[in-house]
């Protein structure tokens, strides 16, 4: 087996938990991460927290990105974190974005979400953060 030409790309799972149909932001973020050289597994809409965690395990991702604009983030994001702990996935960070009030963002960060981004965040900032917090940071 030949040695790798260069380090393997960071693998990121981008998923939308729950019934929220606003997928523009998730797609924009997925493309930005791709353009930054990452491999983005786009799981799409209507994912249960269970779906997200099992996809993260099978795909062996270095980072999980959750997007939610419907207001259900406080019901869904903590459940993803809890399931990750239950499955003993301790080294895969989670970040998120969407319509998330500041107060909720603070609570989510306390629970372990590494970063939360709202409307109008520059894609550059998202990419920089992804690189910094991914399991295999590059």
């Amino acid at each position: 087996m030949p040695r790798p030409a260069k380090a393997s790309p960071i693998r990121v799972l981008i998923a939308k938990p729950g019934l929220d149909g606003h997928d523009r932001g998730a797609k924009v973020v997925a493309r930005a991460l791709r353009d930054a050289g990452m491999e983005v597994i786009y799981a799409g809409l209507r994912q249960t927290p269970e779906d997200i965690v099992s996809a993260a395990i099978e795909e062996d991702v270095d980072l999980i990105g959750l997007s939610c604009l419907s207001g259900a983030h406080m019901a869904l994001f903590p459940r993803v974190l809890a399931l990750l702990r239950l499955q003993k996935v301790k080294d895969v960070p989670v970040f998120a974005g969407g319509i998330i009030p500041d107060e909720d963002a603070r609570k989510l960060k306390k629970l372990g979400v590494r970063a939360v981004f709202g409307p109008g965040t520059s894609l550059e900032e998202i990419v920089t953060t992804a690189r910094a917090i991914a399991r295999r940071a590059q």
């Binding site: 087996m1 030949p2 040695r3 790798p4 395990i57």
Partner: protein
């Protein structure tokens, strides 16, 4: 009982054999990253492979390959199969990144351990799969999945390399693909064991499958097998059972007259050549910078004292004479 040449199971290999999904996923990542430290694990798993049916799905962009895999997944799970899916998507030549979107189409219960889905980027490899796809399929085989479905990139070109990985290949087309079929035609029959005309719920499916049947009848048929033509709709589930029956018919055909063994031998031959090629290339590239002998050859080449063809012959001769012998 240890077989001759068998290698003690590494901790990674044991974890995979025990059904540890995270260990399997991490091993796949290392194989994809061409991490040489994974070789002992691959070696110890090799005797456990060769049992899975490996079925390729190839065809132009958006014809419904992932949707068909989803429909097949449900069908195969109901039949009690353990099914793994490897879905390959292209890597952007500009950024080196990719969006792997095939998973969107795949519905499965999160707690169903009889299914394992892995997305792969092509990472610059041409031919419709990634350089590591074959080895990843083999890992899934060792892990006990008895059917492995492989979705190729779907570039619009014929993804020929699936022939070196799958025992049965399905070429997926859709109605009104007239021109595209014309351009694909040359390669199509090299690959297709089964033609699937998907989106059969749309008008034109019947004439498309008639055309294909005619084409399939005209061709010589690869090794005496005439490709089957099946019309499906991944949307409403029509034709999925017949599609799998066509795959089985081909697999049964392979089991007659030693064809499976011959096909396996041919695939292993390609793999062996590829491994040696990689090994030799790596060796030579290292020697390019450090080896005195090679340095002399390069000097002579630069001053036109010898030509590249003679230099290549001399370099090759040093390889053949390498006294270090085979390494375990």
């Amino acid at each position: 009982m240890t077989r001759r040449g068998s290698v003690p199971a590494t901790p990674g290999a044991r974890a995979v054999l025990n059904g540890d999904r995270r260990a399997l996923a991490r091993l796949i990542t290392r194989v994809e990253g061409r991490d040489p430290s994974v070789v002992p694990t691959l070696r110890s798993l090799y005797p456990r492979t060769g049992r899975a049916r490996v079925v390729g799905l190839t065809g132009p962009l958006g014809v419904g390959k992932s949707s068909l895999i989803n429909a097949l997944l449900q069908h195969l799970r109901a039949e009690g199969h353990q099914v793994a899916v490897v879905a390959v998507d292209p890597t952007s030549p500009f950024s080196g990144g990719s969006v792997l979107g095939d998973r969107i189409r795949l519905d499965r219960r999160a707690d169903d351990t009889g299914v394992f889905i892995r997305s792969m980027a092509s990472r610059g490899h041409s031919g419709g799969v990634a350089a590591a796809t074959r080895e990843v399929v083999r890992l899934l085989d060792a892990a006990g999945f008895d059917v492995v479905l492989v979705e190729t990139v779907g570039s619009g070109q014929v993804d020929v390399e699936i022939r070196d990985i799958a025992s049965t290949s399905i070429v997926v087309l859709v109605p009104h693909l007239g021109d595209e079929v014309q351009t694909l035609k040359a390669g199509l029959f090299e690959i297709a064991d089964v033609f699937c005309v998907n989106k059969g719920d749309l008008p034109g499916a019947e004439s498309a499958s008639r055309d294909l049947l005619e084409l399939a009848g005209l061709g010589p048929g690869r090794e005496g097998w005439r490709p089957k033509v099946v019309t499906t709709s991944a949307r409403d589930g029509t034709g999925i059972a017949p599609l799998w029956a066509a795959v089985n018919a081909h697999e049964t055909y392979l089991d007659s007259d030693g064809r499976r063994a011959a096909g396996e031998r041919r695939r292993l031959g390609h793999e062996l050549v590829e491994l040696v090629r990689e090994r030799v290339a790596r060796d030579l590239e290292e020697r390019l910078d450090s080896d005195v002998e090679v340095g002399t050859l390069l000097d002579q080449l630069a001053t036109r004292a010898i030509d590249p063809y003679v230099a290549a012959e001399r370099l090759f001769a040093t390889l053949r004479a390498d006294p270090t012998g085979p390494k375990e």
